[in-house]
């Protein structure tokens, strides 16, 4: 699992430099390649999960191995695995970054929009395009009205080791079944046995508070 996360790590590094090789190589390659390539850096990666101090060293060692092979892996579980991990250890985002569920972000942006319309007597204040687009996306995309209730429902999953980022991913996906959750958040697949029951209960409660479209 950690190896897969490492791969994703590497890929995210690449994207930071502006070009993502993996996007031009959609072919999937076997996991076997990954495991071989990552053998040496496994121990380093484990440290990285806790902090990003060794990030530089890690990336250097990865690059020296010939990143191409590592970037090729398109195995869905690999890239999905990396996503929740990236949220925690992505160097690009400051450590205090707080994931927002779509419904939370919608509430915040809605509040700001109301303030802006009040202040709009000042002609120099313009609503930036990404703000408008973001708000529009959230209006139709978020399927829950009340973020507090969603948090209350998903909080018990934390006891089973679900991280904040994974919770946000689950809330944003608006899953109908546990299969969907395991497909989109494969990092919790490992704990499938323990987490299946609480997850099903949480999903049942979430479906009750879903916004009707």
């Amino acid at each position: 699992m950690s190896e897969k996360g490492g791969k994703g790590f590497k890929s995210s590094l690449k994207s930071k430099s502006g070009k993502d090789d993996s996007s031009t190589k959609p072919k999937k390659t076997g996991k076997v390649h990954f495991d071989h390539n990552l053998g040496k850096s496994e121990s380093r990666f484990k440290v990285l999960q806790g902090s990003d101090d060794n990030f530089q060293g890690f990336s250097a060692s990865k690059e020296s191995k010939g990143g191409k092979g590592s970037n090729k892996a398109k195995k869905s579980s690999v890239s999905k695995d990396s996503q929740p991990l990236e949220l925690k250890t992505e160097k690009e985002l400051p450590e205090n970054a707080k994931c927002l569920m779509d419904c939370e972000a919608f509430q915040i942006l809605q509040g700001i929009k109301e303030q802006i319309t009040v202040l709009s007597e000042d002609p120099t204040i313009k609503i930036p395009v990404p703000f408008d687009r973001g708000l529009e996306y959230l209006k139709y995309g978020s399927c829950y009205m009340n973020p507090q209730s969603v948090r209350q429902i998903l909080d018990p999953l934390k006891k089973h080791g679900v991280s904040e980022g994974e919770m946000c991913v689950i809330a944003n996906v608006c899953p109908e079944s546990t299969d969907e959750v395991f497909a989109f958040v494969p990092s919790i697949k490992g704990r499938k046995d323990k987490i299946n029951q609480p997850l099903e209960e949480a999903l049942a409660k979430l479906s009750k508070i879903k916004k009707s479209t």
Binding site: S15, S23, L87, A105, I125, G134, E176, D179
Partner: protein, 176 residues
């Protein structure tokens, strides 16, 4: 995905803005400079939600401008690899289709569209399954997974796939 983060920026202010409204001027300049911009590191800065602190100003030699280090909280939108997004299709061509999710553009190549979907040219180009049951055309909503990101000066561009489980066109009655 949206994040709430604290960022820091050094703001330069011309002496004409000094006075009672120094703070307000600084904040409005920050908003004008930062809101709507995009960086590879943080993604799109969608909105500033608050100012955490404004440090002591430092007068720059020779110009009279003063530099203030400002810490502010903001909502950013940063797409990640492996993220699942619901996007609206904006353009369909034989190479694939383009879709938009919030401020970000996503391209899904033909190779990452299920093999049973074929491109149909015409007034309304689309991808359709052999039995005609599923159609991807402009204004359609699709659920896709980001598999790669590229950062331009002012925008983030993503590549996505709909070839995995639970991805593809979202039908209205079953909207997730």
């Amino acid at each position: 995905m949206f994040f709430h983060i604290v960022l820091e920026r050094n703001m330069q202010l011309h002496p004409r803005f000094f006075g009672r409204n120094l703070r307000e001027n600084l904040v409005s300049k920050l908003m004008k400079d930062v809101e709507g911009t995009c960086s590879g590191r943080h993604g799109f800065v969608v909105a500033i939600t608050g100012i955490e602190s404004i440090g002591k100003g430092l007068i720059r030699d020779g110009t009279g401008f003063v530099t203030f280090p400002v810490k502010y909280q903001c909502v950013v939108f940063r797409p990640f690899k492996g993220e699942i997004l619901e996007a609206v299709v904006t353009l369909v061509n034989k190479m694939g289709f383009f879709a938009e999710a919030g401020p970000v553009q996503i391209f899904v190549s033909k190779h990452l569209i299920p093999d049973d979907m074929e491109f149909q040219a015409g007034d309304m180009p689309n991808y359709t399954t052999s039995d005609g049951s599923v159609k991807i055309q402009k204004e359609c909503e699709v659920r896709l997974k980001i598999i790669g990101t590229r950062v331009d000066a002012t925008e983030i561009f993503c590549v996505g796939t709909i070839k995995d489980d639970f991805l593809g066109v979202i039908n209205d009655p079953e909207a997730a």
